[in-house]
Symmetry: C2
Subunit: 440 residues, 2 copies
């Protein structure tokens, strides 16, 4: 078979960039035999040209001068693995302007400036491929855009942050405290030294913005997404939830109803123990998608890490070089939103079941007080749990599971509860997410 040579420039020689370079250089033969494409890394750009990396580059391939890449017309594909939103955006724009297709893993950039970049790509007759931006090595973006192209996608539920999932699943299975698991996650490289973007849910929201825009076909702004992280999750709640048949996950949720109203949210979520997503442990990611024809499909794998992410970047390079990405990108139909469109549903309108934990003083009449608050806010109770034994300040934990209720009613009830003398501290409130299972 005739091999087509594909020359590649890489900007950003950190962990992901090193993985990409390694995969291209070490597996060029096997990739050529599978695809007919001979991938050649021509130029690697990074401000740091001296540090040791997991892969050795030949001769003077590494440089800190971007123009060497931009001006090399034999390079047809530029990879951006810098991360962050400022420099990376300029790099992508320059690569597009100099006639190169762009492959990127940069979720923050696409979530915040994707629409602008897509327009720049179209203007220059180029494409941007971004499989690696969501869920690492799992080919979820190509699944939504090609594999499920015959479906109207009605909902997606994703565990898309490995750090959070590692923490929550270890809190549940090993009975460890948040800080303890976080420290181990950092040791193992599953969490950054500063894990705040992961823990506060923003990283998941970045990925949701990208996935929802291609699944639902509308420009999604990062601000459209309601975001709550796992910062305040206590071990107690993980365990009380378990007792009641639930497993705690940080879910990224996108739903589109018959009226085209889109609901987008990232928050800690209790899901049924027998849902396949509850089996996703440790640093793994998984996304369940509901399509009008296909029903439920789920994709599972490593959502981060050097080689899984490189796997997705190189798959995109192959797809771009075959011309497939370009064609699909041309048909990428992400509609801009008009001012008049009431497209994004507010979190206040969310109808959900809720898990509420309050720390009650152990004295007569307490139940009467908190149940009165719920009743006044039109909230009906489906289950409650109070163990014997005392907590801090002579309080006892009471766990309440509500029937379906509007978020704004819950918010009002929680405010009212905080004012009760018989309740210590702030009530804890975690949404219960009923993932529709089309299971026999």
């Amino acid at each position: 078979m005739n091999e087509k040579i594909v020359k590649i420039g890489l900007v950003g020689f950190g962990t992901i960039g090193s993985g990409v370079a390694k995969l291209i250089m070490e597996d060029a033969d096997s990739i050529a035999s599978r695809t007919g494409l001979r991938l050649e890394l021509s130029r690697v750009i990074d401000v740091d040209t001296t540090s040791e990396r997991p892969i050795k580059l030949p001769g003077n391939m590494l440089s800190d001068d971007l123009s060497q890449l931009l001006n090399d017309e034999t390079i047809t594909i530029g990879i951006e693995t810098i991360g962050g939103t400022d420099a990376a955006k300029q790099v992508q724009l320059k690569m597009l302007e100099s006639g190169k297709d762009v492959v990127t893993a940069n979720k923050a950039l696409l979530a915040e400036h994707g629409n602008e970049l897509y327009r720049a790509a179209r203007k220059n007759g180029r494409c941007i491929a971004f499989e690696a931006s969501c869920a690492g090595g799992i080919p979820i973006i190509s699944a939504i855009r090609s594999g499920l192209a015959a479906n109207k996608i009605t909902a997606m539920y994703g565990i898309v942050n490995g750090t959070c999932n590692y923490i929550l699943s270890n809190m549940a299975s090993k009975n460890e405290k948040f800080d303890q698991v976080l420290a181990r996650a950092q040791e193992k490289g599953y969490a950054e030294p500063d894990p705040s973007l992961d823990i506060n849910g923003q990283d998941s929201a970045h990925k949701l913005a990208i996935l929802a825009s291609i699944a639902f076909g509308y420009e999604i702004m990062f601000d459209d997404i309601f975001v709550e992280g796992i910062n305040n999750i206590s071990q107690d709640d993980v365990h009380y939830g378990r007792e009641m048949g639930y497993c705690l996950k940080l879910l990224a949720i996108g739903q589109k109803d018959e009226q085209n109203r889109i609901s987008l949210r990232v928050h800690p979520s209790f899901i049924a123990n027998d849902n396949p997503l509850s089996q996703v442990e440790g640093p793994f990611n998984a996304v369940s998608i509901f399509g009008s024809a296909v029903g439920q499909v789920m994709f599972y794998g490593r959502g981060a890490g050097m080689m899984p992410t490189a796997s997705a970047v190189v798959a995109d390079i192959i797809d771009v070089a075959l011309g497939n990405s370009g064609r699909t990108f041309n048909h990428l139909n992400i509609r801009p939103r008009t001012e008049s469109e009431l497209l994004i549903d507010k979190i206040d309108n969310l109808v959900s079941k809720f898990y509420i934990r309050i720390m009650c003083k152990d004295q007569p009449g307490v139940i009467a007080q908190w149940s009165k608050v719920l009743a006044e806010n039109n909230i009906s109770i489906s289950g409650a749990l109070q163990h014997e034994g005392k907590g801090p300040d002579d309080t006892v934990p009471v766990v309440i599971i509500t029937h379906l209720t509007r978020q704004e009613n819950i918010t009002a009830a929680l405010n009212d509860m905080e004012k009760l003398d018989v309740i210590g501290g702030n009530p804890v409130c975690i949404r219960i997410v009923d993932i529709p299972e089309d299971k026999d």
Copy 2:
């Protein structure tokens, strides 16, 4: 956006064909808005032109005369949903010869004659797309060919037959007997009136032949695959296995080692209860794939049924119409095998753990006898289980779990055991499959 009109001919107006027609006709607008392609069903061919179907065709679209489709040059894509291997093969060849790309869900045909059909397609400058042939609506073929294109695939473990999975998972969860569950599966439409192709493992083997040929890059003959069905699975073994921490699944397994030796087999398999595949219940399918860069990924969804299969067929139509399938098909590198290549590993060489159940007479010296047989065949025991209580003919079940052992040693030992007076009936032997989990 300009819409490109794509005219489609469909041969085989049964369940799957009806689903495809329904999806194309009812969702044409939304597909056009997502992809820029306006799919138009031009002609439907079936020998039966009178029966009621779930979708009404306009005017004289339905005919029993294939030439009306072949001679219509505006039809660029032909869908074959007849099933079976004889007529379907002729139809595909004729469609290719008349210049149409082919989309098919026909696993039996591709497993048995795929290589011949691929050559015919190449000769005519056309392509064959077959996403729907394996695992219904799950985009597993595009995942292997595109999403994981940067990976050397080392192994795949698939639950690819919904009928068998429905039977085995209900035997486990509802404590029902094989025949009882099969009858309900037939009522629900999860099993054919004649379920033998499913139950005996052949359907799974067809799918494995297709998946393995694209994952490993060699022509796989259907006869290369060792096949054992679930015909003889008893409820007892499902339950003894569970007690020992295993879940019983019919797995389609493909492995390729460093020396390019390929092992292909379909058989009932005990897998660890905490493996994600063990959570796949009812008629669902799932395939775990191990790639050199990506690690483990798993794809899950409905592996059969009218609309999930139609979802995959229509995704292929879109991919063919965009030109993507053609490009990928041209690079589909399935090497023919030379006579000298010792490519396919024989089942006798399999090294595995085994579950053995024997029905022993309840008398002194029995353990000494069966353990001697195992020792003579160099088989070491990792666990054994004998409950109190009696079975038929005053025998008691003894369950033995072996350490890693070669299949040929087990086969010899089972033969020797059958000859023992103290053992009633034939020993039951089920392979234990250690799916490598790269889990934290």
